[in-house]
C-alpha cells in the first residue's frame, strides 16, 4: 500500500491472492508502478504497468542482472548498505567463487555432492575461538556437511563473528561488496535476453523503475509465491531478491520488503509451530544424533550466541518445560533426551520412498492429499499401497483415502485392489467453522476463529483427534523406559461439550507460555533459561498476554491507523513489519518524512512510531556493545537485523545455505537449454532420487523440447478437494486444460477446445487445449522455446463434481537442497495432439519415451 514500485514475480497475485491484490491496485491508483514478470500473461499482468514474459527457471539471471546494474552504476543506497548490511565485511581468502571454479563454490565434495562451507567464513573467523566463539560454531568440516542441513541453524541463521574485520571504503578486494561486483559481472542484459527471453529495453525499464523508486524518499516491494520456491535453486531465488532489496535499502521499511504470498490458510503457522521434520516450535532445530550429545552441546551448535538468537537456551528450556512439566529438571537436561534424533533427511519425499522400501508402516494424512498434490503421484500411491495402516482425515473422501479402489494404477494393471494390504481408516474432519483456533496468515498475523456450530456426525477437529488419541495411547503404556517421554508428557487440557472437545484456548495459552507464578507471559524476553518459565513456541509468546486471547482482537480497521495493530496479533511481539529499525537512519531519524515508520525519540529515550519497534525499546542509536557481550547486548544501536549474529543484513551468507553463499544461475534439472555460464548445468547440490518409478527427462533432450510449468486458478484450491466438490467453483472451472501459444498449436496441429496429451518420463496425461497468446514463445539464443502451462487442481475423486487427470503425476522428484522443496515450476515435456492412451497402452507409450 505504501510502495512506489511493486514487482510481482513468481506469483499470479490477482488470481491466487485476489483480495490481497486490492492493495496493489490501490497503490497503482496512487501512482505506484507495477511490474509483472511471469511465463504467462494473467490478470495480474493485465493490471500491471508492464508485463515481462520470462522463461520458467531463469529468474536468478534477471535478478542477478539487476544487481549487476545497481552495483556497476553505484545506484545502491550507500548509507543504508554501509550501516545495515555486511557489504564492508572481509571474507576469508580461502573462499573461491563460481566465477573461479566454473560453477562451484569452494568446499564442494563431488562424492557426497555437498558443500563444506567453512571457506565461506568471514576473515579471521578461524581465530575467533580466542575471542569467545567456539570452534564447533564455525560450521566447518565434512562431518558438518554430512549431518547438517541449513535447517540446523535455527531462526537466527548460522553463527558468525559479531564484529568481523571490515573495510568501510569498500575497496578491499575481498570485502563482500567487491565479491558481489565480480560475481554478478557476467549477469548482463545480453544474458538476460538469451536465457530469460527479456529484451534489453524491458530490462532497462525495470532497472530504471526499481532504482528510481528506492532510497530515502521511496520504496520498492517484491512479491513472490511458489513460482519462486519450487525450483532446485528456490532458496537462492529469494536470496537474490534479498541481496537486491538490501542494496536498494528496501528492507524493514514501509512499502518495501520481499513478500512471500503463501497459499494455505495457516501454512505460515504450520512452519512456526512446525509439522515439519527438521524443526521444533519457533524454528529451534530438531536435535541430530551425530551432532548433539546433550542440551549444552545442542545449544552450542544451534546457531549464534549474539543477537536475539543468543537467548536460545531460554527458548529451548521453556519449550521442554511446556512439554514435560515437572519431569523436566536442570539435573536431567530438562528432558532433552526425550526428543528423538534425526540422522539426515527425513522429509516428505524421502519418507515416501521409505514407505516403498517397507520402513514406514503407519501413516497419518490430515488435511493433505499427496496422491494428487505431491510431485510424482505414482510414487505416492505406491507408498500408500505398501503401508500396514493408513489414517486419512479430511472433509471428503480424498484420493489419498481411495487410491486402493479407484487409483490410476488400477486402470493400467499396475495394482489390483485385492493385492493391496493397506488397512485404511477414513475419519471425517470438522470444517473451519466447526472448531475454534488460530490461523497464521502470510503476514505472520494470528487470527482467532470463533466456532459457529458443532461438527456433524463423526466429524471432529484435529485437536480433538490428536488429544483423544494421545489419551488412548497413554492408557495403553506400561512402565517401559521407551514410553517415558509419553508418560511424562503434559497432556491435560480442559474438555467441553458432548464430544469432550479439548479447549483450543488452553492450548494457545500453553503455546504463549506461563511464568513462575503460573500467569501468562507477555513477551519472549520474559523467558528464562533456568526452567522457571514454560512456553510452547517462543515467537508466539505474547499472543495470550494479560490472560487475554490477543489473536481474537477485532477492532475495526476503520477505527485504527493503517498499521491496524489491534486486529489479531502478529509474531513477534505484535510487530507488523520485521526489522523496522531499518526504517530510520543510523542516528534513529526517519530516512524521510514520507517514509517515516519507527524512529528514536531522544526526549523519552525510546523507539516509537506507527508500529511496534522490532528493536529493544530503550537501546539508543549510539549504543556500542561492550567487548564479549552476548545475545542482544552484543548488537549495536545501529544493527537492525536483530536475529543475525552480527545484526546485519547478509548480502553474502558466510554459512547457513547448502548450495553456496551467493546465488548462481543453474538450469532446472530438466531444461531444454545448456547453461552458458558454467559447465555445471544444474545446481550441483540439488537432491536427486534414484527411484525407478520417477525417472528424469534428460537435459536438452529432443524428446522433451517444451518447458512445462504449473499453476493455480482463482476458482480452485491446490489438489482440489476443497474446490472440486463445490458446485459454484466446479461450474466455473470444470476441466483441466493446457495453455499453448497459437504458434505451437499450429506447429503441432492442436485445436482450441480439442485434446492434447502431455508426456514426461513419469507418465502422460490429457487436457483440453487452450490456444492463447497469453503464452508467448520466447526467442532464446537464436531458437524458439515454447512454454506450456497446466493448472494442477484435478483428480478422480474427493467427491469432485468435475474430474481430470493428475498434473502432478507428470512432475519429477528433485529437490532444493536447503528446504527439500520439489522443482514443480520448471520441467520439460512433450506435447501431442489427441487423448492419451488408456490401460496398458499408457505404459507402452511411456516406455517409448524412457528408452529412446
Amino acid at each position: 500500500m505504501n510502495s512506489d514500485c511493486i514487482v510481482i514475480q513468481g506469483s499470479n497475485m490477482a488470481e491466487c491472492h485476489p483480495v490481497g491484490f486490492q492493495w496493489v491496485v490501490e497503490a497503482r491508483a496512487r501512482g505506484a508502478k507495477v511490474f509483472h514478470i511471469d511465463p504467462r500473461f494473467t490478470r495480474t499482468s493485465a493490471l500491471a504497468d508492464r508485463y515481462l514474459p520470462i522463461r520458467a527457471g531463469s529468474d536468478i539471471v534477471l535478478l542477478g542482472a539487476l544487481i549487476n546494474h545497481v552495483l556497476t552504476n553505484e545506484l545502491d543506497f550507500r548509507e543504508y548498505v554501509l550501516a545495515y548490511t555486511n557489504a564492508s565485511t572481509i571474507v576469508s581468502e580461502r573462499f573461491k567463487d563460481t566465477e573461479e571454479l566454473d560453477g562451484l563454490f569452494s568446499g564442494f565434495d563431488p562424492e557426497t555432492r555437498k558443500y563444506d562451507p567453512s571457506s565461506w567464513s568471514y576473515e579471521g573467523a578461524a581465530e575467533e575461538a580466542a575471542a569467545g566463539l567456539r570452534g564447533e560454531q564455525l560450521e566447518g568440516g565434512p562431518r558438518h556437511a554430512e549431518a547438517a542441513g541449513p535447517d540446523q541453524y535455527g531462526a537466527g541463521g548460522a553463527a558468525a563473528p559479531v564484529r568481523p574485520p571490515t573495510d568501510p571504503t569498500l575497496r578491499h578486494p575481498r570485502c563482500v561488496y567487491r565479491i558481489l561486483r565480480r560475481h554478478f559481472a557476467r549477469y548482463t542484459p545480453e544474458l538476460v535476453e538469451e536465457l530469460c527471453g527479456i529484451s534489453p529495453e524491458g530490462l532497462a525499464e525495470l532497472a530504471e523503475a526499481i532504482t528510481v523508486n528506492s532510497g530515502r524518499e521511496r520504496t520498492t516491494a517484491w512479491a513472490y509465491a511458489v513460482g519462486w520456491t519450487q525450483h532446485t535453486v528456490g532458496a537462492q531465488y529469494i536470496r537474490t531478491a534479498s541481496i537486491l532489496q538490501l542494496l536498494l535499502g528496501n528492507m524493514g521499511r514501509p512499502g518495501g520488503g520481499i513478500l512471500a504470498l503463501r497459499g494455505h490458510a495457516s501454512i505460515q503457522g504450520s512452519t512456526d509451530i512446525p509439522t515439519l521434520f527438521n524443526i521444533l516450535p519457533g524454528y529451534l532445530p530438531m536435535p541430530h544424533a551425530y551432532l548433539h550429545e546433550g542440551l549444552a552441546d545442542y545449544l552450542a551448535q544451534a546457531g549464534a550466541d549474539t543477537g536475539f538468537w543468543g537467548r536460545k537456551r531460554s527458548y529451548m528450556v521453556s519449550l521442554l518445560k511446556a512439554w514435560w512439566g515437572e519431569a523436566a529438571t536442570e539435573e536431567n537436561d530438562f528432558c532433552f533426551d526425550h526428543l528423538p534424533r534425526l540422522t539426515g533427511d527425513h522429509s516428505h519425499y524421502t519418507t515416501v520412498l521409505r514407505q516403498i522400501d517397507g520402513t514406514v508402516k503407519g501413516y497419518f494424512v490430515v488435511g493433505e492429499n499427496p496422491a494428487v498434490g505431491s510431485s510424482g503421484g505414482k510414487t505416492q500411491r505406491l507408498g500408500l499401497a505398501n503401508l500396514d495402516w493408513l489414517v486419512v482425515r479430511d472433509l471428503t473422501l480424498v484420493e489419498t483415502a481411495t487410491f486402493w479402489k479407484d487409483g490410476p494404477e488400477l486402470a493400467t494393471g499396475e495394482m489390483r485392489t485385492e493385492d493391496i494390504a493397506t488397512e485404511v481408516f477414513f475419519l471425517p474432519a470438522a470444517s473451519h467453522v466447526e472448531k475454534e483456533g488460530t490461523f497464521t496468515n502470510t503476514q505472520r498475523l494470528l487470527q482467532w476463529r470463533h466456532k459457529a456450530l458443532d461438527p456433524p456426525g463423526d466429524c471432529r477437529s484435529e485437536l480433538s483427534f490428536y488429544y483423544h488419541l494421545g489419551k488412548r495411547i497413554r492408557a495403553r503404556l506400561g512402565d517401559d523406559e521407551i514410553d517415558r517421554p509419553i508418560r511424562e508428557l503434559t497432556w491435560d487440557y480442559p474438555e467441553h461439550g458432548e464430544h469432550a472437545e479439548p479447549s483450543a484456548e488452553a492450548v494457545l495459552r500453553e503455546i504463549n507460555g506461563t511464568g513462575p507464578d503460573g500467569r501468562a507471559l507477555s513477551a519472549y524476553t520474559e523467558l528464562r533459561a533456568d526452567g522457571s518459565t514454560r512456553c510452547g513456541c517462543w515467537i508466539y509468546c505474547g499472543v495470550y498476554a494479560d490472560e487475554v486471547n490477543q489473536a481474537a482482537r477485532r477492532r475495526p480497521g476503520r477505527e485504527q491507523s493503517w498499521v491496524a495493530p489491534e486486529w489479531g496479533w502478529a509474531w513477534p511481539a505484535n510487530r507488523r513489519t520485521l526489522y523496522n529499525r531499518a526504517s530510520a537512519d543510523p542516528e534513529g531519524r526517519p530516512w524521510s518524512e514520507r517514509k517515516a515508520y519507527v524512529w528514536w525519540d531522544a526526549d523519552k529515550g525510546e523507539w516509537t512510531g506507527y508500529d511496534e519497534p522490532d528493536f529493544e525499546r530503550n537501546k539508543p542509536p549510539d549504543y556500542v556493545p561492550p567487548e564479549g557481550a552476548l545475545a542482544e547486548e552484543a548488537l549495536a544501536g545501529t544493527d537492525p537485523f536483530i536475529m543475525q549474529a552480527d545484526g546485519k543484513g547478509w548480502l553474502f551468507a558466510p554459512a547457513g545455505l547448502a548450495d553456496g553463499p551467493l546465488p548462481a544461475h543453474y538450469e532446472p534439472h530438466e531444461s531444454p537449454l545448456r547453461n552458458p555460464l558454467y559447465s555445471r548445468q544444474a545446481n550441483p547440490a540439488r537432491r536427486i532420487y534414484h527411484s525407478p518409478d520417477t525417472p528424469y527427462n534428460p537435459p536438452e533432450s529432443p524428446l522433451f523440447p517444451y518447458v512445462l510449468t504449473t499453476y493455480r486458478l482463482t476458482e480452485h484450491h491446490t489438489a482440489g478437494s476443497m474446490s472440486r466438490p463445490l458446485a459454484y467453483l466446479a461450474e466455473l472451472q470444470p476441466e483441466l486444460f493446457c495453455e499453448v501459444s497459437p504458434l505451437l498449436a499450429a506447429e503441432l496441429g492442436l485445436v482450441n477446445g480439442g485434446w492434447a496429451t502431455i508426456v514426461t518420463t513419469r507418465t502422460a496425461i490429457e487436457a483440453r487445449v487452450l490456444v492463447t497468446e497469453r503464452v508467448t514463445p520466447l526467442r532464446l539464443g537464436g531458437r524458439t522455446v515454447h512454454q506450456i502451462g497446466l493448472p494442477y487442481h484435478w483428480g478422480w475423486g474427493s467427491g469432485g463434481l468435475v474430474t481430470g487427470d493428475v498434473v502432478n503425476d507428470l512432475l519429477p522428484i528433485v529437490l532444493d537442497p536447503n528446504v527439500y522443496i520439489q522443482e514443480g515450476k520448471a520441467m520439460t515435456c512433450d506435447l501431442r495432439p489427441g487423448r492419451r492412451p488408456t490401460g496398458r497402452a499408457l505404459l507402452d507409450l511411456i516406455r517409448e519415451y524412457r528408452h529412446d
Binding site: T275, A289, H338, N441, A452, E462, A475, L729, G799, Q822
Partner: protein
C-alpha cells in the same frame, strides 16, 4: 411502490415508462417481501477464510443448526469485507452433499468400505500406533542414541490450526515419530 393494477405495477412496464430501472421500478411485491438470510440468523460467528493465506475475515451465519451464509467481514483491515470466488463459495465447502460425516474402514485386501464406530476406530488406531512404535523402535543408529521410530509418519498441517499443529508435533515427538511433514514442504 407504484399504485394501480398488476399491469401498471409490472416492473418491466414501469421501466419502459422511464422510471429508474435500477431503483424503484425494479421493485415488485415479491422483491419487497424478500429478506436477507443474514437477518434471520440465530447467530453469527467471526471467522477467517480457510483457503489461501491472505486471511480474509468471514462472518458465518447460522440458523437452526445450519450454516445459512458466509460473507466477508467489513471490519477486517486486511480484506475490508471482500472475499474471492473461493471464499464466497465457502458456505458450500461446509454444507455440500459430498462431505463425509461417517467413519469408514477398509480392511487389508478389502474391496469395499465398511462402517465403523468412531470410538472403535479411535481404539484401533491407538492399538496400531502402540504396536507399530514398539515393533519399529530404534534405540541407536551407528552407535548413537536416537530413540525414535521410522515406522510411523505424518503429513498435513497447513490447512489446520496452530493449536492442532502444536498437539500433533508434541504427540509425534513424544512418540519418537520424526517423519512429520506438511504442505509447507510443497
Amino acid at each position: 411502490m407504484a399504485r394501480g393494477g398488476w399491469i401498471s405495477r409490472w416492473p418491466v412496464l414501469r421501466q419502459l415508462r422511464g422510471e429508474d430501472g435500477r431503483g424503484t421500478a425494479a421493485r415488485s411485491a415479491r422483491t419487497d417481501a424478500l429478506r436477507p438470510r443474514v437477518e434471520e440468523a440465530d447467530s453469527v460467528a467471526r471467522s477467517v477464510c480457510p483457503y489461501c493465506a491472505v486471511g480474509c475475515g468471514q462472518l458465518v451465519y447460522v440458523k437452526d443448526g445450519r450454516v445459512t451464509q458466509i460473507e466477508g467481514d467489513p471490519d477486517s483491515p486486511i480484506s475490508r469485507g471482500r472475499l474471492c470466488p473461493k471464499g464466497s463459495a465457502s458456505k458450500q465447502l461446509v454444507t455440500h452433499p459430498g462431505r463425509q460425516t461417517q467413519v469408514l474402514y477398509r480392511r487389508p485386501h478389502g474391496t469395499e468400505w465398511e462402517r465403523l464406530d468412531l470410538e472403535t476406530a479411535m481404539d484401533m488406531i491407538a492399538d496400531r500406533v502402540v504396536r507399530t512404535r514398539r515393533e519399529t523402535w530404534q534405540q541407536e543408529d551407528g552407535g548413537k542414541v536416537v530413540r525414535r521410530t521410522l515406522g510411523i509418519a505424518g503429513l498435513g498441517g497447513a490447512t489446520l490450526d496452530n493449536e492442532e499443529n502444536y498437539l500433533m508435533k508434541k504427540l509425534y515427538t513424544a512418540l519418537g515419530a520424526i517423519q512429520v511433514e506438511n504442505q509447507a514442504r510443497i
